[in-house]
Amino acid sequence: MSGLNKAAARRLRSNPAAVFALYAMLALAALALLGPWLNPNSIEALDWLHVATRPGLQGAHWFGTDRLGRDLFMRTLAGARVSIGVGLVASVVSLVVGLSFGAIAGYRGGRIDHLMLRMIEILSGLPLIFFVIVLTVVFGRNEYLLFVSIGAVGWLTMARIVRGQTLSIRRREYIEAAVASGASASRIIVKHVIPNLIGPVIVYATLSVPQIILFESFLSFLGLGVQEPHASLGTLIAEGAGEMESAPWILLVPGGVLALLLLCLNLFGDGLRDALDVKES
């Protein structure tokens, strides 16, 4: 197993796009976390003397300011923090739910598997995104609900992948050996099944982070996610899109950061998939 991991790590390192994406992502995350100490401006303070100023490294506002004189550098970094946080938390939620659901369905097999698979099929046939929109409107715009509803949409594909993998692992000799030595089903799932399907799970979880970030910023763009005065990349882009004729940087700064973040996450996920040799389903 460790030999395989070493080979995978070597393949990953020899992929320039993935390496670049990893470093760019780490730099962006570090900037998002350390930003508040690099720049004296605050997220919400209004600087009436510098309303909608252009970006420039000489002035106080490196990325310029918005219509209300708020510092775009700080707001964009705050938005990036929200996006990265939502991406990580929601993908962990969908990972845990999808992994346990898929592993149980695949390992149990038979009737239970059939039932659980039907459930996944029905749910993925529904226009879930519209439900999420209705849900967020109905139950107030609360950020915890946002995590839950995004995770609720994300786990289906994960469950499907895990189930497929479990079905093939279940027939291996070492599982038979574990059953013969009297291990319980839950112990077999945790100790033998899950460690052996970790490759595709890591790949899919990595690739689901950008999708979740995209979804969160989409909801925020529509005004259903993070609310003022908090900033999310989606709300910043919505603001910027309204100002783009007179002050294009209000759009370009958060839009560029979101695009860069998503691009890097996708490139890294693709690199990981190639390195671990997981097939796209």
Binding site: P127, F130, V138, F221, L222, L262, E280
Partner: protein
């Protein structure tokens, strides 16, 4: 085949019923109502309004009446757009949304598939890497970032195209929104086609076709393309869903008079019937697309024919 199709068609009815029921009761569970305003209405007027729309009756009666009307194709009156029925609102806006979506989908297919074949035929060459890098870019950057960027470039700096607004039959006004809408599915289709084409090209019957001395063009178009398109066909439902979701933001950014704005606005306004109507339209489209994909499958891959 026909019987299979018929059984799928009847299977769609319970799904739709579940969707309608879930949305109906979800909307009703929301705090607030359609007639809430900044200044509260006098209770008498409120009571009159509620009785006019049947909101004073027990919720199960309301649900039954709604289903009854729905069975006759009547979506009911809109609560917010006072003089309109939901059917009228949808009839006005739907052609715009449909045109936008259909152009975007055909753009995605007609560029994505050839791009994928091209990349597969030049496997591991610079052309392959370039195409696939562009595909990652198209996949990664969200529609609501792409469209304003395109507007900035082609509308404000170059003055080639209008950034927003709409005129009936004007393709210029639809150009940027459709391109923005088409990009993510286009990129995904290109990647799918490349992957499956690479796999098909390695198979025995393709080697046979080449061994017979057939030209490349014939091998690709007559032998390889059909099996290679199976994954693309199964992606069509998510593609339509992606275009629908995209149209929500694209219509609002570009100021198009489609039905995209009704879903979010309707839900915010507690316009129960409008939200239900929208959810039904979208679900029906998705389910219909699923049926179409089943038929396509059977045509593309004879092995799945029941």
């Amino acid at each position: 085949m026909f019987r299979y199709f018929l059984s799928r068609l009847t299977g769609a009815i319970p799904t739709l019923f579940i969707i309608v029921t879930a949305t109906f009761f979800l909307m009703r569970a929301a705090p607030g109502g359609p007639f809430d305003q900044e200044q509260a209405l006098p209770p008498e007027i409120m009571a009159n309004l509620e009785s006019a729309y049947g909101l004073d009756r027990p919720i199960w009666t309301q649900f039954g009446r709604y289903l009854g009307a729905l069975a006759h194709g009547d979506f009911g009156p809109s609560f917010k757009y006072k003089d309109f029925t939901v059917t009228e609102l949808i009839r006005q806006g739907f052609p715009v949304t449909l045109e936008l979506g259909l152009i975007a989908l055909s753009l995605a297919l007609s560029i994505g598939i050839p791009a994928g074949i091209f990349a597969a035929l030049h496997h591991n060459s610079a052309a392959d890497y370039a195409t696939m890098s562009l595909a990652v870019l198209g996949l990664a950057i969200p529609t609501f970032v792409v469209l304003p960027f395109l507007g900035l470039l082609f509308g404000i700096y170059l003055h080639w195209l209008p950034i927003a607004g709409w005129e009936p039959g004007s393709i210029r006004h639809l150009a940027l929104p459709t391109v923005a809408l088409a990009l993510p599915p286009l990129a995904y289709i290109a990647r799918l086609t490349r992957g499956s084409m690479l796999e098909v090209l390695r198979s025995e019957f393709i080697r046979t076709a080449f061994a017979k001395g057939l030209p490349l063009r014939t091998v690709i178009l007559r032998h390889a393309l059909r099996p290679a398109l199976v994954p693309v066909a199964s992606y069509l439902v998510p593609a339509v869903a992606s275009i629908m979701t995209g149209s929500l933001v694209v219509e609002s950014i570009a100021g198009l008079p489609g039905i995209g704005r009704y879903l979010v606005q309707g839900a915010l306004n507690r316009d129960y019937t409008l939200v239900l109507g929208m959810v039904i339209i979208y679900s029906t489209l998705l389910i219909g697309m699923g049926l179409l994909v089943d038929l396509l499958y059977a045509w593309l891959d004879p092995r799945v024919r029941p």
